[in-house]
C-alpha cells in the first residue's frame, strides 16, 4: 500500500472500511510522512474541539396550542395500536352482550306447553284464512257488480237506439200517409170541378 492509495483522512475520521483498516495501520507504521500527517490531523481536531459549546440563551419550548392539537378522534385514528385495541375491545363487548341478551336454549324450552302453541298457531292460521277468503269474496262481488252495471248501461244504449229507429220509421210512415191523403184530396177536388 502506497501513500497515494491510503485514504488517511477517512481512517482518521473513522470512516474506513473494517477490511481496509489493517492495511492502513500497517502502512502508517512503516511511513513516517503519513504518521506526521496523522499527527497534524489529531492536533487540528484537538484544537477544533477546544471550542466549547455555548449554552442556549433561553430555553426553546412550546406551549400547548389547541389550534394545532389534534381532536380526540384524530388522536385515536392516527394511533394504530390504540385503534386496534379499541376495535378488539368493541368486538369483545359485542360478543359478551350477545351472550347475555340472546334467548337461552335447553331446559327452559322443555317447559313450554306445545298444545297451547298448536292452538295459537291454528287460531292464527284460521284467522288469516278467513280474512283471505273474505277479501276474495269482496273482490268477486265488486267485480260482478261492475260487470252488471256495464251490461245495464249497454242495454239502455241498445234500447234507446231501437226506440229512435222505431220513431224514425213511424214519422216516415206518417209523412207518407199525409202525402197520400193530400193526393186523394186533390184528385177529389178535380173530379168535382168539371161537373159544375
Amino acid at each position: 500500500m502506497t501513500c497515494s492509495s491510503v485514504d488517511l483522512k477517512a481512517y482518521f475520521l473513522g470512516e474506513i472500511a473494517p477490511a481496509e483498516k489493517g492495511g492502513v495501520e500497517d502502512h502508517v507504521r512503516a511511513c513516517q510522512e503519513c504518521r506526521e500527517e496523522l499527527d497534524r490531523l489529531r492536533v487540528t481536531q484537538t484544537a477544533l474541539l477546544s471550542l466549547e459549546e455555548e449554552e442556549v440563551p433561553q430555553r426553546i419550548a412550546f406551549v400547548s396550542d389547541k389550534v394545532f392539537e389534534p381532536r380526540w378522534w384524530q388522536t385515536i385514528w392516527r394511533s394504530g395500536p390504540a385503534m386496534g385495541f379499541a376495535s378488539a375491545a368493541m368486538l369483545a363487548a359485542a360478543i359478551l352482550a350477545h351472550a347475555y341478551v340472546r334467548p337461552v336454549a335447553g331446559p327452559v324450552q322443555a317447559t313450554v306447553d306445545t298444545a297451547q302453541i298448536e292452538q295459537r298457531v291454528e287460531r292464527e292460521v284460521n284467522a288469516r284464512l278467513e280474512a283471505t277468503v273474505a277479501k276474495a269474496v269482496r273482490e268477486s262481488e265488486a267485480k260482478q257488480s261492475q260487470q252488471f252495471a256495464q251490461v245495464m248501461v249497454a242495454s239502455e244504449k241498445r234500447f234507446e237506439a231501437k226506440r229512435q229507429d222505431d220513431l224514425a220509421v213511424a214519422q216516415q210512415a206518417a209523412r207518407y200517409f199525409e202525402q197520400q191523403r193530400a193526393k186523394l184530396e186533390m184528385a177529389a177536388n178535380d173530379s168535382v170541378r168539371p161537373g159544375q
Binding site: K9, A10, L13, E15, R40, L41, V43, T44, Q45, T46, A47, L48, L49, S50, L51, E52, E53, E54, E55, V56, P57, Q58, R59, I60, A61, F62, V63, S64, D65, F68, E69, P70, T75, R78, S79
Partner: protein, 182 residues
C-alpha cells in the same frame, strides 16, 4: 446510548399524537447541539437562536412526515441546514464565499479564550459549505452517508468539502498549535 434512542423514539411517538410536553423534552435534549451548530454556521447569536426556534417549530409541524424515528438527528439537522442557508442566501449575494473572518469584537464576546478565538477565526476562513462539513463531522459526529442526506449531495462531495476544510484548518491552526505546544 441505546436506551436514549428508545426514549427519543417514544417521545417522537407521543409528540406525533399531539403531546407538546413530550416534544419539549425532545427539544431540551437537542437544542444545545442545534443552537451551537447554527451559531458556528451563521456566526450570530440572535440569528442562531431565532433559527433554532424555527427549526424546532418546523420539526414539530412535520414530525408525522418522519418515516423512521431513528433518523431523527439527521432529519433535524437537515431542517437546520435548510434554515441556515435560507438566512445565509438572504444576507449574502449569490455565489459569494465567506472568506472574511467574523467580527473580532463579537467573537471576543463569544469565545474569550485565545485558542477558541483562533479556532473560530480559522472556521471563519472556510466557505459555508466547508465549515458546515466540519461542524457536522467533527462537532456532531455524523457519518458521511448521514451528512450526504443532510446536505442533499453525494458522499464524494461531502468528502471533498471536508478534506479541503481539514487541509485549510491544518495550515491555519498550525502556528497556534505549535505555540500552544511550546
Amino acid at each position: 446510548m441505546i436506551f436514549r434512542e428508545v426514549e427519543d423514539r417514544d417521545l417522537i411517538a407521543k409528540a406525533r399524537r399531539g403531546h407538546v410536553d413530550a416534544y419539549n423534552v425532545l427539544v431540551s435534549r437537542w437544542e444545545k447541539r442545534v443552537f451551537n451548530y447554527l451559531l458556528r454556521l451563521v456566526g450570530h447569536r440572535e440569528d442562531a437562536l431565532d433559527l433554532s426556534q424555527d427549526v424546532f417549530l418546523k420539526a414539530y409541524q412535520n414530525l408525522r412526515k418522519l418515516e423512521d424515528p431513528a433518523k431523527f438527528p439527521g432529519w433535524l439537522f437537515r431542517i437546520a441546514h435548510n434554515e441556515a442557508y435560507s438566512l445565509l442566501r438572504k444576507n449574502r449575494p449569490e455565489g459569494e464565499l465567506a472568506v472574511e473572518p467574523k467580527s473580532g469584537e463579537a467573537n471576543a464576546r463569544m469565545f474569550p479564550i485565545e485558542l477558541s478565538l483562533a479556532v473560530q477565526s480559522a472556521l471563519g476562513l472556510l466557505s459555508d459549505d466547508q465549515r458546515e462539513a466540519v461542524l457536522l463531522k467533527v462537532y456532531q459526529g455524523f457519518k458521511f452517508e448521514e451528512m450526504a442526506e443532510i446536505l442533499a449531495c453525494p458522499v464524494s462531495t461531502v468528502k471533498s468539502r471536508l478534506y479541503t476544510a481539514l487541509d485549510l484548518l491544518k495550515q491555519t491552526l498550525a502556528p497556534v498549535n505549535m505555540g500552544g505546544a511550546e
